[in-house]
């Protein structure tokens, strides 16, 4: 079976453009159809994927030969499930959005579609410059969605979000160009192809600052402490659908960049900053957990818990051990899969409390909404890494990887696992149990949200039962990604 990644990539955008020329009410259905089609295509991809092979379904064409930029797409174990996550996450979010009244619906759904194309592009790109094109492009639809359809001081929030993120990603662009230029051998042609860059090399000193600038971009995107300044305002002002995608999917692009670009191409540079990045990761785990614990707004609890979770993922990656990296890759998928339903559930809860998302005004919903409570409970358990969930497997792998060489950090990070349990139970209790708040009118989850959330929960459960489906497919690529950096570490240790 031939699978064309270009179709996967540009289908959403095409439906978004198509929607712009359809009558007002039709745009949403066009885009929804597009996301479903991408999901179906991705399922075919998952079935067809060869776990033993390298980069597959490669598309490789010239784009801008003068700058050495190629239109290069491909799938391997690293991005297979990231693409799947994107495809899975967009369907329920578009579905929920489609049944809500929007002003200017064409524009909203165009942005939603453009966002999916941009995210898919960033995951699929096998050329550094192409990755950056999509990485920066992602921001624009989110800028419009938050600024146009958000609440509160949304313009300020969205501007802050864009500038914060761009400061990182434009510096990364400069670093990437430097990498391309400096790695060009004398008389050779400049190239940004990742496979080509891996063959070439730049000096260790250069690698160090380039890695630092890449890390800046990825840490802002993730976000990690102390580069999370945009988080509270943005999360508070965003439409719930947007924020589900932002927290669930976009945050993964950054950490994915470490595995795809930084570690394989600049192993010495990565090794150099290993300690620093691990410290940042551990700080993020603790800081995120503590803040999540002290928030009153349910959204922000989830937002800060994401910081902690992203900390776990980065910890796993920079442990530079096979197990840790595999755990990180698995956890990237798991976290995305729990955050999207969590935010959608927050939306459902808020709708039953006259829009309030404050824990002190919520409570007592479970009695009249057992299905909602059950779904929430499963997702909450998955988030706090209950044994039997995929997150448990992911976090254990991350911690094992860390224990091998960085025992102390591993132990500190373990404290984060405990904190997660505390704040998730607090949120669940605060919304579902406790005495009901004054404005709470509990009712069972409606069919629309059930249709959006239940399949996600099913996937979470399935991954908990059969994690090997993922681990088996990602193993090879993940090991290859950290191999060199790991090797450099070994050399340093023996010296």
């Amino acid at each position: 079976m031939t699978i064309h990644l270009s179709i996967v990539l540009f289908l959403p955008l095409a439906t978004g453009l198509l929607g712009a020329f359809l009558p007002r009410g039709m745009a949403r259905w066009a885009v929804l159809a597009g996301t479903v089609a991408v999901l179906l295509y991705t399922v075919a991809l998952l079935v067809d994927f060869d776990a033993g092979g390298g980069v597959q379904y490669v598309t490789d064409d010239e784009w801008i030969p003068d700058l050495g930029i190629r239109y290069q797409l491909g799938i391997d174990g690293l991005n297979l499930f990231m693409v799947a996550l994107t495809a899975i996450a967009w369907v329920p979010c578009t579905l929920v959005a489609a049944f809500r009244q929007h002003d200017r619906p064409k524009l909203f759904f165009f942005n939603l579609a453009l966002a999916e194309t941009a995210v898919l592009g960033a995951f699929l790109a096998q050329d550094l410059a192409l990755f950056i094109v999509f990485f920066d492009l992602m921001l624009i639809p989110f800028y419009f969605m938050i600024g146009g359809w958000g609440t509160g001081d949304r313009v300020r929030a969205t501007t802050k979000f864009v500038i914060y993120t761009l400061a990182g990603s434009l510096l990364m662009m400069a670093a990437a160009i430097a990498l391309g230029v400096l790695s060009t051998p004398d008389g050779g042609e400049i190239s940004f192809s990742l496979a080509e860059l891996q063959q070439r090399s730049v000096s260790e000193g250069t690698q160090q600052w380039i890695v630092l600038l890449f890390a800046l971009a990825f840490f802002v995107k993730a976000p990690l402490f102390p580069l999370h300044g945009w988080v509270p305002e943005t999360y508070r002002s965003s439409p719930i659908v947007t924020i589900a995608l932002l927290g669930g999917v976009l945050s993964k692009v950054g950490v994915y960049g470490f595995l795809r670009i930084v570690l394989p191409i600049m192993p010495e540079g990565s090794q150099h900053w290993q300690e620093l990045f691990i410290i940042i990761a551990v700080f993020s785990i603790l800081y995120g957990s503590i803040l999540a614990f002290s928030q009153d707004n349910v959204r922000l609890v989830v937002a800060y818990s994401s910081i902690a979770q992203m900390g776990f993922i980065v910890l796993g990656i920079f442990a530079l051990e096979d197990k840790g990296a595999q755990g990180a890759v698995f956890q990237m998928l798991n976290h995305g899969l729990v955050v999207v339903p969590l935010f959608l559930i927050v939306g459902v809860i808020a709708a039953r409390a006259s829009g309030s998302e404050s824990l002190s005004e919520l409570g007592g919903m479970a009695f009249r909404a057992p299905v909602l409570a059950t779904l929430f409970l499963i997702v909450a358990f998955a988030t706090l890494a209950m044994p039997g969930s995929g997150n448990f497997v992911g976090e254990v792998l991350v911690l094992f990887g860390t224990f091998e060489d960085k025992l102390v950090y591993g132990l500190v990070a373990s404290a984060g696992v405990v904190l997660t349990a505390i704040y998730m139970i607090r949120v669940f209790g605060g919304t579902m149990h406790n005495p009901p708040g004054a404005d709470v009118e509990s009712s069972e989850i409606d069919g629309l949200h059930l249709a959006a959330i239940a399949p996600l929960v099913a996937v979470i459960v399935a991954l908990g039962v059969y994690p090997n489906f993922v681990v088996h497919r990602t193993e090879k690529a993940t090991t290859a990604s950290i191999q060199e950096a790991h090797g450099v570490g070994e050399q340093v240790a023996t010296r």
């Binding site: 524009l107 410059a129 094109v133 600024g147 501007t159 434009l170 160009i177």
Partner: protein
């Protein structure tokens, strides 16, 4: 047959290579004459049509004589019609065509007289092409004066508006200072090298005749750089830019912003990178510092503006800084990147200015930021071009501005100016704050701009105050906005044609790194 007169030989003139210049000079004279005829039809239709015809002819002739590679100077070494000159010329002609179209309903052309207005426009265009093609110090100066003097007048062509006159006067005074500085620099350069023609200067510098640390030479280069910096609005010689851009009739502002810059950078590339062999001199870092300062000053200056024209003026200062980076590195890559960016800069700025003009004519807020309020809902056909232009100026992927910046940073890093690449990036980050504010005003309604209010202005509506009527009353403005916004996206996704031209232009100067 030998007559005594044969001692004096008239220079051999290559009329083929000169033909684009003759098209615009001839056009300028014809338009001036035709403008003397009375009649509404002659004034408002025939004159602009003849101007456009002259420019189209010039574009056609330019394409006809287009030839990559190093070209021999014509007319005893005073002009070099190579790909660099012709590339800049095409940009200038396109800017001229845009200006003609945007002036169709402008007050300025009516008040100054259509014939004079268009004739001066063509004169200025000729000056720009002469400047970009000059390979001799004298031609350079002639070009810069031929460019400037009509522009001084054009800036003041809205006779009954005080700010227009003020802009004209301001530009005249400051421009004259710039020209004088430049002239002094040219004289010193001649004194140091003993040569007028660029190739003679180049060989004098590369041989041991002239010491590279000769104070005369260095002062001369410094003064020339200052003079050109005035024209290209490079900091710290940019102060006139916001005032003049705001005061001048907007079609003229559009033309000035894109065409003057193209011509000034064209000659800067030829003089600094070609003749003076910048890479060999110690001047690179000094100019790089100037570029960095320009980027910072331009972007910071734009942050607090609420007049769109002033905002675009400050943004053009910042863009001049980006362009400088391409000159500073003194490499073929830098040359190509600069020319590429000039083209991109033209496309995106024209789209933005066209929208400003369209709004300015109908909104009582003039060119204030708030004149764009909720444009996304009322007039998406104007809001989209403006959005695309702003995003492209900021450098968002899938627009031409992104590739332009990418190319410039590429050139900077390859030329050992990685830090300048970082400065460009930092400038771009700052610029998002003001470009996105324009976008927010259009699409994210109810957004208050926190600056003092301005008194509403009395405007004569072009039409009947409804968005649809406004649009259909000046279709050419909307068409230009849409066409250039479309080009911005097109070149962002498929930049090959621009790269092909840039590659040709890259071969025009020899001796680059």
């Amino acid at each position: 047959m030998t007559l005594p007169l044969a001692e004096i030989q008239a220079p051999d003139i290559d009329y083929k290579a000169l033909s684009p210049l003759m098209a615009t000079i001839g056009g300028s004279i014809v338009v001036l004459m035709v403008g003397l005829l009375r009649g509404r039809l002659v004034q408002t239709v025939l004159v602009p049509a003849l101007t456009a015809l002259s420019l189209l002819t010039a574009i056609g002739l330019t394409i006809w004589i287009w030839e990559p590679g190093v070209q021999q100077p014509i007319i005893e070494g005073s002009l070099t019609m190579d790909a660099l000159a012709l590339g800049v010329a095409v940009l200038v002609y396109v800017a001229g065509l845009v200006c003609v179209a945007l002036s169709l309903r402008a007050v300025a052309a009516r008040e100054a007289g259509h014939g004079e207005y268009h004739s001066m426009l063509l004169g200025s265009i000729t000056g720009m092409v002469v400047l970009a093609a000059s390979s001799d110090l004298i031609t350079l100066f002639v070009g810069i004066e031929l460019l400037s003097i009509p522009l001084y007048v054009l800036c003041a062509s809205e006779l009954h508006r005080r700010t227009s006159l003020e802009a004209g006067l301001k530009y005249l005074v400051i421009g004259s200072v710039g020209s004088a500085t430049l002239l002094y620099g040219l004289a010193l350069l001649y004194g140091a090298t003993g040569a007028m023609q660029f190739d003679a200067i180049a060989s004098a510098i590369s041989s041991d005749e002239v010491s590279l640390t000769d104070p005369l030479l260095l002062t001369g280069i410094g003064l020339i750089a200052t003079g050109l910096a005035f024209k290209a609005s490079v900091a710290p010689f940019h102060q006139w830019t916001p005032d003049v851009y705001q005061g001048a009739p907007t079609p003229i502002t559009t033309f000035m912003a894109v065409a003057t810059k193209a011509a000034a950078f064209g000659v800067a590339l030829r003089l600094f990178d070609g003749a003076l062999g910048l890479s060999q001199l110690e001047w690179g870092p000094a100019l790089a510092a100037l570029a960095a300062a320009t980027i910072v000053i331009g972007n910071v200056g734009a942050l607090t503006q609420r007049s769109l024209k002033r905002l675009l003026a400050w943004s053009s200062v910042a863009q001049a800084g980006y362009l400088m980076a391409g000159v500073v590195v003194g490499s073929t890559l830098g040359l190509q990147a600069t020319v590429f960016y000039l083209a991109v800069y033209l496309v995106m700025n024209v789209a933005a200015f066209a929208v400003v003009i369209a709004r300015e004519r109908v909104s009582e807020r003039g060119d204030d930021l708030s004149s764009l309020e909720n444009l996304g809902q009322t007039q998406p056909w104007l809001a989209w071009p403006m959005t695309i232009a702003m995003l492209s100026l900021a450098g968002v992927p899938a627009t031409a501005g992104f590739i332009g910046k990418f190319y410039l940073i590429d050139a900077a890093v390859a030329g050992d100016y990685a830090w300048l690449g970082i400065v460009i990036v930092v400038g771009a980050v700052v610029s998002f704050a003001y470009y996105l504010r324009v976008v927010a005003v259009m699409w994210m309604g109810g957004y208050e701009v926190e600056l003092p209010t301005i008194p509403p202005r009395q405007v004569k509506p072009v039409s009947g105050w409804s968005p649809e009527a406004d649009l259909s009353a000046q279709p050419e403005v909307a068409a230009i906005a849409i066409a250039f916004a479309a080009a911005t996206i097109l070149f962002g996704v498929w930049p090959d044609p621009l790269f092909d031209a840039a590659r040709d232009i890259g071969t025009a100067l020899s001796g680059l790194r």
